[in-house]
Point group: none
Chain length 192, copies 4
């Protein structure tokens, strides 16, 4: 019956990570990355990759998951609003470098394949939105913001500028800018 080779799987994911890492020599963009290249680099046959992943994007998503990309924590010890600011600031900080480039390229790939978009949202967007929605609900409980808007709507309003700046490479992703951005988004939500 021959079971799936864990060794091959690891080699594939590691090669993918290495090839996409722009701190390595000979790194490539997601667009330039090919199954052929991964197979060659991992010492694996193309068939093996095609057997277990439907396309390049799926391999990349698995790679990112394997490499714990963008697991941004939430401070439970802070007041909700401050924890929210911290969360967004630290996420933006991560996006402001190598992993940000990867994310923007992954979002680019999503524009060409619905199932990739689904996977992306499932693994990278929805969990994050969930976290922020929880924080907002906590802020409402703490009386820091009004509770008359859906939390998801607010979460989007807070997050959208992050992705906007990432994809348009315009507007800074540093602590000050992001704090300002979050505050602006929340400005109209102060309790009456």
């Amino acid at each position: 019956m021959a079971i799936r080779s864990e060794h091959s799987r690891q080699a594939i994911l590691q090669s993918t990570m290495k090839l996409l890492d722009d701190r390595e020599p000979g790194s490539v963009t997601i667009q330039q990355l090919s199954i052929e290249r991964i197979a060659r680099d991992a010492g694996v046959s193309k068939t093996t990759i095609y057997r277990w992943w439907p396309n390049k994007a799926a391999v990349i998503i698995d790679t990112f998951l394997e490499n714990h990309i963008l697991a941004t924590p939430v401070r439970e010890d802070l007041p909700a609003l401050e924890a929210l600011r911290e969360h967004v600031v630290s996420l933006a900080a991560v996006y402001d470098g190598h992993e940000g480039r990867l994310m923007s390229q992954l979002i680019a790939e999503c524009q060409y394949d619905p199932s990739t978009l689904d996977e992306f949202k499932k693994h990278f967007w929805h969990p994050r939105r969930e976290v922020v929605s929880r924080l907002i609900e906590r802020a409402v409980e703490e009386g820091s913001i009004r509770g008359d808007r859906p939390a998801d709507e607010i979460a989007e309003q807070i997050y959208a500028p992050v992705y906007f700046r990432l994809l348009f490479q315009e507007g800074a992703l540093d602590r000050d800018s992001m704090t300002t951005s979050v505050d602006l988004a929340l400005a109209g939500l102060a309790p009456r």
Copy 2:
């Protein structure tokens, strides 16, 4: 001497538009589109395309400009805030269809080529931001919103959700949703 053939130029841009139009049979995504295909379809030699455009993305941008893609007007007869809402709503309406798919794919291409991003911003984002910034300044003059924030910052805050929804294909782009979104963005800017 030997002047550029307007006929060829038109044929190239029209073929590009047709090939990218998902209402046509045999349409393709920007990723799938190739110079070879455009040349074949336009009855033009590849050389002619390479002579005048550096790459596929440049042809596409010219095509969009030629086809007045996303030229969204501003109502001068309305109060600034209302004109702003109308502008965003009508832009979102355009993004909510065929042209939206094209734009999201173009933004995707921008992730792989800085000069494409520059062109994109120059032709499609900055003009729009300018329009909105003007409206915000007018709104300040009209006393509808406070004037203690840079107009560009507010413009970004208003626009970011539009692009977010476009790229993440999540959250509606209809009139009600967009009005809500704009109002949320402006909520904290009411004059004291």
Copy 3:
């Protein structure tokens, strides 16, 4: 693993032969023949050709070998001198038609690539020279000609006019002319 496809190889060689055959409609010269054309005609990808042959000339040489071009026999039942005449006459007869045109074009290609020349000589000239040298040695043994000259030298003297007439398309390649030519070449070699 993954062994070479005999089917593709055959298709390539047959298409090449067909394309070069001036009795077929749409035939081309060796100069006009392109890898692209062979691939198209054979229903094979260019990669497959480039994988197995270094260039056009190599494909053509293989094609000629496969099609037994210019395999001229030697009569063992005749006296050496007569067998020699017969051999040259029959070779010239072959050169006096379609296969002669192909050979002259192949020799033309040899002027541009040393390795093609080597292959040509290995497969088409040296075997023939060998045959004639043998015949000359036999003629010496039979006492028909003197033995004080190297056989290869005499072989060249006999053969040179054949190639000269082929390439210059001057001087006939028929039985009488070739017999005269051979006799002239051998005239000075009669035993004393």
Copy 4:
């Protein structure tokens, strides 16, 4: 009325010669030589070349004529047989270098175009054959060889090995080898 520009004509022929001269850097074979390249190198427009020459080969032949290629003289002061040997030896000496490579490539081109072959024979082969035929007739008059064979036939027999060695790049073109070759060709023609 504008008369043909001698300046352009010269520039074209000189560039052609330079490009074909393998002692120059960046030299090319006749096959690699293109009208485009000549025009660029000569600072002339392609039109001008196409206006005055039907094809590449014609330019090359004119170039060779202009550069006195292969004008091999005949010694009138020597006995016919010796002058003949000298002539062949000195021609072979010229063929044994740079100009020989050019000639063999020109003969190659002739295999693809009858009119080029005609021009080649008219300018390079027939004059030479004429010279040799005259020498043979003189040799007959001098009583050095028999007169019962057509001079042209003998000329071919003498010349064929030269072209053979040139094109097959086999067999030396030095003085000794060529003398031997001529003597072998004439061996059977000694007066009875």
